[in-house]
Assembly symmetry: C2
Homo-oligomer: 126 residues x 2
Amino acid sequence: MDADEMAKTFVKQYYSAYDDDRSNLGVFYREASMLTLEGQKIQGPVNIVAKLTSLPFQKCKHGITTIHCQSSGPAGGTLVFVDGLLEVDGQEYAPMFIQMFHLMPVPNASTGSYYVLNDIFKMDYA
Amino acid sequence: MDADEMAKTFVKQYYSAYDDDRSNLGVFYREASMLTLEGQKIQGPVNIVAKLTSLPFQKCKHGITTIHCQSSGPAGGTLVFVDGLLEVDGQEYAPMFIQMFHLMPVPNASTGSYYVLNDIFKMDYA
């Protein structure tokens, strides 16, 4: 699977899980993982899921506009840059969001297993 | 210098150079460096500078809104996520841009020398 295909597969899996039940997102992260959410830094799957589930909406739907990806160097990672529209609780106005992930291979796992080491998320209220 | 300070210093230096004379931006990149510009991938300092200098404006001014950064794992890199407004040729409407850099330490250099391994740039015409 090349980087573009891997990025697309990851994006599909991640946002499906998010929109379905964001309390299940912990599987994408490990202890070293860091989320920057609107400037706040949150580390590790437990804290990241606690933050994501505390966001003030019940339902959401991420509509992806573009995905760009690049290999990120000697450690075998991949950078994934996403933008799209985030609809919450059925509201008509869906603001734009921008999110970048740094995916790293899971140590000692079979090829193709990745986790999110870095996650930077920002809403873009135009 | 911590990662936040380093990111701020880099952002200042990079956009000062860009707004002053973008033909000088090659010093920030190395042969492995990749720029994704509106979906097109361009590799290496010569090609990156050729692309940047071919953009259809004479003067520009990047106004930075936010900078977020995170350490990027075992290879010693730093991710820098920037958004801001890009004014070109003195036009009144300055659209938003989003750019992310993956900075890596220069091998065998003194501490604090970094180059841009990954650069993903996107205009955000709201």
